[in-house]
Symmetry: none
Subunit: 214 residues, 2 copies
DNA sequence: CTCGGCCCTGAGAACGTGCTGAGGACGCCG
DNA sequence: CGGCGTCCTCAGCACGTTCTCAGGGCCGAG
């Protein structure tokens, strides 16, 4: 765990140890980066606001060096950075402070389960390629420019090609939105993606969600 | 589900129904308690802040009456009550708002599993396969596209292969309908399924209901 | 065989979901 | 300050889905 607030770090460490995890804490960005490189960990919990090196830069560096450690990012919700930015630089999941400990635990477990050893540097589905580290998307070798939100949405979909993903799940992971948020925003962004990637890449499963055609 | 915020309740109900759950909503504490006592439910999602009777009191009452329905509690995080309180009164699990929908789903499934024998991820009967997570149905390895309602109906039937299931039961669980609803709608949808899956997969037991041929 | 009740089905109305263009709010940069 | 790009809201429309209804077939009882 990379976290500079001592009290939060200590509380989390205690809680996670009680669940049977082995937890080390680093207090600065550079120390965290080093630990991630050489520590042999299964996952990393990473604050965004860090002395020396921000969480964003840390993940980006890690990914550029071909380290695919699962990363769960924590950020204060004061909007200096956008939520989508976190996923853009290669974090696997994202929580905004203040968060529920139970939720953190559940998401951490999900990350470990997913545990993708040797994730390809570039996600590829059909002639679509997405490079999380470089934040680039190409379609049949032609570059497609996406906004942050569009990129985050496509990123999420490309990690589960062929699966049906509900609007609620997308709202939850791509927008970090509460359940009450109108699902229309998802429809709008699926529309944007379709315009940029081709009409039939994203399938609508009426009453259920969307699916990325394989 | 016992929840007085209408928008949240509606969103959750929609989401859970899409997953194949039959969901009823009560808006007040007393109404919820009554439903828990007599509704024959498999689990309850319970808000803490409720008009008439708090979630804490509701669970305590229920447990005192020897009802052991699994309860998943939701609470706002403004700290008036402590998280531990919820578990103390007899709730089985606990989430603080705002929570992730996916986590709620996972925890709800975990609660239901705890009570019942482990369910396979993919249901299979004859050459019919149904994957609830991917929301996909195949018949002899050919994909069959179903509407939301058709899927819910088949899902329910496939969990009880070989059993005779009455139209009333189907109305209740698949349609969430009141007793006065005309049973004809079930006949119509059984007709749709027969057209898509093959004429003899669904047996009519005259005067009793339907049965999925094994 | 006849009758009554149960079930099936096609037509079409009612409803809801998803798609889209217009445009407002906001932040960034010149 | 004004232009630009992104994010998001809203309302209208299109079309698939859901449901209602009525007519007819089938089955079992007498």
């Amino acid at each position: 765990m990379v976290e500079d607030e001592a009290r939060l770090a200590a509380a989390l460490q205690r809680g996670l140890r009680a669940e049977g995890f082995a937890v080390d804490v680093a207090r600065t960005g550079p120390a965290g980066l080093d630990a991630a490189r050489h520590g042999g960990y299964d996952a990393m919990i990473l604050d965004v606001m860090l002395p020396g090196l921000s969480g964003y830069e840390l993940v980006r560096t890690l990914r550029a060096e071909q380290h695919w450690l699962p990363v769960l990012m924590l950020s204060a919700k004061d909007g200096e950075y956008d939520q989508a930015d976190g996923l853009d630089c290669g974090a696997d999941d994202y929580l905004t402070k203040p968060f529920s400990y139970v939720v953190l635990l559940a998401r951490l477990r999900a990350l470990l389960r997913r545990g993708a050893p040797e994730r390809p540097a570039v996600l590829a589905v059909g002639d679509l390629r997405l490079d999380p580290a470089r934040r680039r998307v190409t379609r049949a070798d032609a570059e497609v420019t996406l906004t942050a939100r569009e990129f985050a949405l496509l990123n999420y979909l490309m990690r589960r090609p062929g699966q049906v993903i509900s609007k609620i799940e997308l709202l939850d992971h791509v927008w970090n939105a509460s359940l009450e948020t109108a699902p229309n925003i998802v429809e709008v962004y699926v529309g944007y993606l379709r315009r940029k990637l081709g009409r039939d890449r994203l399938e609508t499963i009426r009453g259920a969600g969307y699916r990325l055609a394989t």
